[in-house]
């Protein structure tokens, strides 16, 4: 504490210590409540996942049993094995990854200029374009997928992994544009202007000043894109037969099975998401600048 270097203070040393102690106590209390809050939210997120994991690793008899246990005893892989033994699950997982990554790359490349334009320029038709993009996102996939499927058939692009990625790009693009636009809107325009004053061309200003600041947000947008594609079932089912993605394949099997398989299927759908987010977390965190 630096209070000693200010002898003009009218408080006695004891009083100062008391205030410092109280401040510290309040600080600790606040810290503690933030930790409690953080942990409570974490439990809220993790509990359902744990419960369905328990179901996935119990015997089918325990899955049907009551009251249900919250630890999987006896541990059993019977329920999970059904899924792993299903034809094409692993192949479907690979398809899902390929589709989602292609979608992410395509969608981000196309969305960044558009998002920048909407965030930075005032031009006739801006609102109309913005609303148009929204309306595209608002059209239910359920009905949209059918005419798109027909178009693909006519172009001989049906049942191909890349054409599903093209469609997923179309589905995710509006969202990505809007998120990217809001990211650019959050980068202070004054910085870009300053760069221009110091002799940068618009392109240079964009690459050297705006992009580094916008990159974390764009990464978030890209991840959103990946997730949208990863979880999309309806278009995937309509557009593919032999090249199903993981959710489409699981949905197809779920429909014909009972509770044990429902729970195993749900866990199986969760697993890639948890692993995926775990592996990119470092990258994610450094991009978001939380890592000190």
């Amino acid at each position: 504490m630096t209070t000693e270097t200010y002898p003009t203070t009218s408080l006695s040393l004891a009083e100062q210590e008391q205030i410092a102690r109280r401040a510290k106590f309040q600080y600790n209390l606040r810290r503690a409540s933030i930790y409690a809050l953080a942990i409570a939210i974490a439990i809220w997120i993790l509990l359902p996942i744990w419960l369905v994991a328990v179901m996935a690793f119990s015997t089918p008899a325990d899955v049907r049993g009551f009251p249900k246990q919250i630890v999987p005893v006896p541990l059993s892989t019977d329920t999970m094995e059904f899924f792993l033994n299903q034809d094409g699950i692993l192949r479907a997982a690979r398809n899902s990854v390929v589709v989602a990554i292609t979608t992410l790359v395509l969608s981000t490349i196309i969305a960044v200029p558009a998002g920048y334009a909407i965030a930075r320029y005032v031009f006739p038709g801006r609102d109309a374009i913005r609303l148009g993009i929204l309306s595209v996102r608002a059209f239910p996939i359920v009905v949209l997928a059918v005419p798109l499927a027909v178009t693909f058939i006519e172009l001989d692009m049906y049942d191909k992994v890349y054409s599903l990625a093209l469609m997923h790009t179309a589905l995710t693009l509006p969202t990505t544009i809007l998120v990217v636009a809001s990211v650019f809107a959050g980068v202070p325009y004054e910085l870009e202007e300053a760069a221009r004053i110091f002799g940068c061309t618009p392109t240079q200003a964009f690459i050297r000043v705006v992009m580094p600041l916008a990159l974390p947000g764009i990464a978030a947008a890209a991840i959103l894109t990946f997730v949208l594609s990863w979880n999309e079932v309806f278009a995937a089912i309509l557009l593919t037969i032999s090249n199903r993605t993981l959710p489409a394949q699981i949905l197809y099997t779920l429909d014909k099975s009972g509770d044990p398989f429902k729970f195993a299927g749900a866990f199986f759908m969760l697993l890639p998401a948890m692993i995926f987010i775990f592996f990119i977390r470092r990258y994610l965190f450094s991009m978001w600048g939380i890592n000190k």
Partner: protein, 428 residues
């Protein structure tokens, strides 16, 4: 649009078929909408291995099959020799004049086995002298009960000749004794068949003509006041009744035999199967018929004929019952050595289909691709009266108007158990 999509669906596997077809002259390509789940199609292929010639089993969905056959008909060139599908699949194919008349073949088969007459009649699709398909196998919906439930059966009730009132009393007894509602209905599953084939016919004697009669209103009132209060309310989330039966959540349930099968396969000692109840007009039930047809474009119609004969032999019919749980349509099938669960269900199906007061109510016929909408109408009637407490006659009038519009627009004549009609079926 779906047509084109399905065409491509079909085309994808046909490319692979075609190369095979050229190599083998005697091969019979058998496309079926039944057994299209992997485990089932493996069993079906094993059964077909006994066939003298070479049978290539191609599982398919209904839509793609129809689109493929129509496309082959317009191209005047085909790859599929034999079709196996539900009764309701055939009217579209017949309306487009794509199927051989199998009258002569059926006569030949009936020299050695007796094929169920009412199903043969169905195979004519309302015509008098054109056999569009030959019945192949059948299924239906029955009741199943946990043996623990039997002690609560009402006094003097015969489980093989239950009435709806007795079922309601039974459900009430179970709820009062155990504190939990123990009767389950597959409301999230094939519940519309319960209404179309069981509830309405048991009170009105028909499926659609009596839709807005007083008898139908009585039925809904019975459901609302006597049955539903003792039915497990989570029924709205049940798809397959074998699940809640196995978990013990419900003790008595109604469902398609295939959707009860898991319970009888896994714990045959714990469950009994029995016919559905009878109402004031009789014991309504819904036979599900699967038929066999040969398209004009078949490259090997003689092979298809042979395969039909093989599929209708008592040995094959027995094997299908044993391994796949579909019931025979011919006489003389040996049912002695069935697995325990299959035998229990088989006895219940037998009792139901031969019940003296039985009213076989067929799946809707002639609605074409709007067959799904009639299910919506029946479900609406139930939901509005039983679940939401709306006035029965008002609901039946309103939904009945929608039903009449559907019948008029499709021009569907009445089907069994309603008396035949000229032109579109009319509600009373």
């Amino acid at each position: 649009m779906t047509k084109k999509l399905s065409l491509l669906l079909a085309f994808v596997f046909l490319v692979s078929l075609f190369t095979g077809a050229l190599a083998q002259d005697n091969k019979v390509t058998f496309m079926s909408t039944q057994f299209n789940v992997v485990e089932e199609s493996d069993k079906a292929k094993a059964i077909l291995a006994e066939f003298g010639g070479t049978a290539d089993f191609v599982p398919s969905e209904e839509g793609p099959m129809i689109d493929l056959i129509l496309a082959e008909a317009s191209a005047d060139e085909g790859t599929v020799d034999l079709l196996g599908a539900l009764h309701g699949t055939f009217p579209t194919l017949a309306n487009n004049d794509t199927l051989f008349d199998l009258t002569d073949l059926l006569a030949e088969i009936e020299q050695s086995v007796d094929v169920n007459d009412s199903f043969v009649e169905l195979g004519k699709l309302g015509t008098e002298d054109y056999q569009y398909y030959i019945p192949w196998m059948q299924a239906t919906y029955t009741m199943a009960a946990n043996k623990q439930a039997l002690e609560y059966l009402p006094e003097g009730a015969d489980i093989n000749a239950l009435t709806w009132d007795q079922l309601a009393e039974w459900a009430k007894n179970m709820q009062e004794a155990t504190g939990e509602p123990r009767l389950g209905l597959p409301v999230a599953g094939l519940f519309h068949r319960f209404l179309e084939g069981y509830a309405f016919p048991s009170w009105t004697g028909g499926m659609v003509t009596g839709f807005k009669t007083q008898e139908a209103a009585d039925m809904l009132v019975f459901m609302r006041d006597q049955l539903w209060p003792y039915t497990n309310p989570e029924s709205i989330n049940y798809e397959f009744m074998s699940e809640p039966l196995l978990s013990g959540e419900v003790w008595v349930a109604f469902d398609h035999v295939a959707r009860l099968k898991a319970a009888f396969d896994e714990q045959p000692q714990d469950f009994v199967a029995f016919p559905t109840p009878a109402g004031p007009a009789g014991r309504g039930y819904m036979p599900v018929v699967v038929g066999l047809a040969v398209p004009y474009t078949s490259p090997n119609p003689d092979g298809a004929d042979e395969l039909i004969k093989f599929l209708l032999s008592p040995e094959t019919q027995g094997a299908i019952l044993r391994d796949l749980g579909f019931y025979p349509v011919v006489s003389g099938v040996d049912t002695a050595n069935l697995p325990e669960g299959v035998a229990i269900q088989s006895a219940a199906v037998e009792a139901l289909t031969t019940a003296p007061d039985g009213i076989p109510a067929l799946l809707p016929v002639g609605l074409g691709d709007r067959g799904g909408e009639i299910n919506q109408i029946f479900r609406n009637a139930f939901n509005r009266v039983v679940l939401e407490g709306q006035d029965p006659m008002t609901v039946l009038e309103e939904e009945g108007a929608a039903l009449q519009t559907l019948l008029d627009e499709t021009g569907a004549p009445c089907w069994a158990p309603d008396p035949p009609s000229d032109g579109a079926c009319q509600l009373k």
